[in-house]
Symmetry: C2
Subunit: 344 residues, 2 copies
């Protein structure tokens, strides 16, 4: 059986996924017993196309790469549907929700996810909004509808974190989770450690495409906060809201602080942590001073890392990219493979 996919949001992640699916189609079929068909794509700006018999992904990618509308796609298809209607009308088994994150309202993504569940469709998503604000509710709704809500890509893009804890660490008790969850702020701190000013480091991050023009989500810690909320709610069984978690960014770290740390062979890192104490779970985001030659102190540039402190393995750490087109595309893919295995 081919897994039928509808992609909602056709930006970097949606396109990245599409490229991976297309270029590895044969390999997935023979090596992973995974066959797929893209039956709909809907993007707020790039247009919308739906075809129950499947779309040619090569043509869709060419259209967006040449800045054309998806509705220029050739062939008999339904065009111009909005996201909600696309989800309702398509015959997809899985809705891939990869619209932009709105961390304040979590919309329109939450509406997309709920619509998919109400139609008995699984959801795979890298959107941090619904995951950070409504995980417990959405997880319950998915279960009530007999479908899955998988969000590996919301924390460290393709670097396995949620699946690592739930699958590889099944059988151990996780007592705390601690990590560097924002690549942009880590890049800025790394550049400052090398001697640059905050301003110059931020400018470089913006030039390289790591930071937005308004960099608050990264430098004020809000992005790390969303990820910490997701980790706590998915892995520690809490029902926390980001507003309940203390959050401090890196903008208070002065060049003097960096020099002082350097003299002591230490590094400032923006750390998110979740600690279970008895039945209580404490979560926090803030700058921490680490030994430069410690495992977490060695995580520089845009790299992310997470350490699970457990009863049977003490500390286990996963280090990898925390963002990126193909990286987040892979995160979505890894969840699709998970659904595909469960359906076999």
């Amino acid at each position: 059986m081919k897994l039928k996919l509808a992609i909602i949001g056709f930006g970097n992640v949606g396109q990245g996924l599409c490229e991976i699916l297309t270029s590895k189609r044969e390999w997935f079929k023979t090596g992973q017993n995974f066959e797929w068909e893209l039956v709909a794509v809907s993007d707020f700006q790039k247009g919308s196309v739906l075809c129950d018999d499947g779309l040619r992904t090569e043509e869709l990618l060419k259209l967006v790469q040449s800045s054309k509308s998806l509705e220029d796609y050739s062939g008999k298809c339904t065009k111009g549907l909005d996201a909600i209607t696309t989800i309702q009308r398509s015959n997809a088994d899985v809705v891939v929700e990869v619209t932009y994150t709105n961390i304040k309202t979590a919309e329109p993504a939450t509406a997309h996810v709920k619509t998919a569940f109400s139609k008995g469709k699984n959801v795979v998503s890298s959107n941090k909004g619904p995951a950070a604000l409504h995980y417990a509710e959405l997880k319950k709704l998915a279960e009530a509808n007999g479908v899955q809500y998988l969000i590996e890509g919301t924390v460290m893009s393709g670097t396995p974190v949620l699946s690592f804890a739930k699958e590889n660490l099944a059988g151990v008790q996780i007592n705390s989770i601690r990590g560097i969850f924002n690549g942009t702020s880590n890049f800025i701190l790394t550049e400052m450690w090398k001697g640059k000013s905050y301003k110059a480091s931020l400018s470089e991050a913006q030039e390289l495409g790591y930071a937005e023009a308004v960099p608050d989500a990264d430098v004020e810690g809000y992005d790390a906060l969303a990820k910490v909320t997701i980790l706590a709610n998915v892995l520690m069984g809490t029902n926390l809201n980001p507003s309940q978690i203390k959050c401090e960014g890196i903008t208070g770290i002065t060049e003097g602080d960096i020099l002082k740390a350097k003299a002591e062979n230490k590094k400032w890192k923006l750390i998110g942590e979740i600690i279970k104490e008895g039945t209580e779970v404490k979560a926090e985001v803030g700058p921490r001073l680490l030994n430069a030659d410690s495992a977490m102190g060695g995580i520089d540039g845009v790299l992310n890392a997470v350490t699970f402190t457990t009863d049977l393995l003490d500390d286990v750490t996963v280090v990898g990219p925390g963002a990126g087109r193909k990286e987040t595309g892979f995160a979505i893919l890894s969840d699709l493979l998970r659904i595909n295995r469960a359906l076999k």
Copy 2:
């Protein structure tokens, strides 16, 4: 259905597993849908006891902890069987092969594994002998008999490596594998970096129980070599023998080398690496000079680490313990959970 287990070899790992299984019995049942029964234990020195209806693990652990024979176990059981006969006669679904590694002959472990397969039993093992010398043959034999041969514990004890690559990284292409696979030599190099002599560092490792009286397997790189062989054969599809892989240990590193490295903010690490170049796979074990503040350079003491270089995620690294009673016990458990899930 309860998964029936026979443990062959009741040293640290066998006992560690038994302790975990016993202490978390209820949690496994409710949280992991995993129920088990120990139906046989056989140890070359500690004796042997077999009971198709199940053994009381608490009593077995008490016996060995008070240096008594397993054959003092109370109740109607078959006692005194050797390992092969235990495997043949028991009604176990899974044989847990955790006898001591003999890296030269891989015996008697290989005979245990083959006997289990011939009786249609799965094998879970942390024994590096059969895995390093006969993986391809044993894997084929397992498949021919419709059973599994799972060896997560052979590389970094309970730190997920093989399952991480096969499950979490399913869908990416692994181009190279690079890591610190021997905690004892890493501990010695770390102590030398702190200013101690090789001799003093080795003595400390021996006092702490990290190094054997004859430390060759660790300091000459043979243990890392076995792990590199396993990684290449399991994850890169090769059929290499350790004798085909270039291997150099840490005994050639002088205190002068360490001082020189330190002055350049570098560290010597014993690195195992496997590189895929087209259809060719090159493997090697040897000392490498790394930046002290790099991710792998920050892996100190007995910690192990592995970096997978991939097409979709660039570098992804897992850091954790590489040995230990409860750690390797957990590795066995994680493979048991895998078999349990597959049987549901």
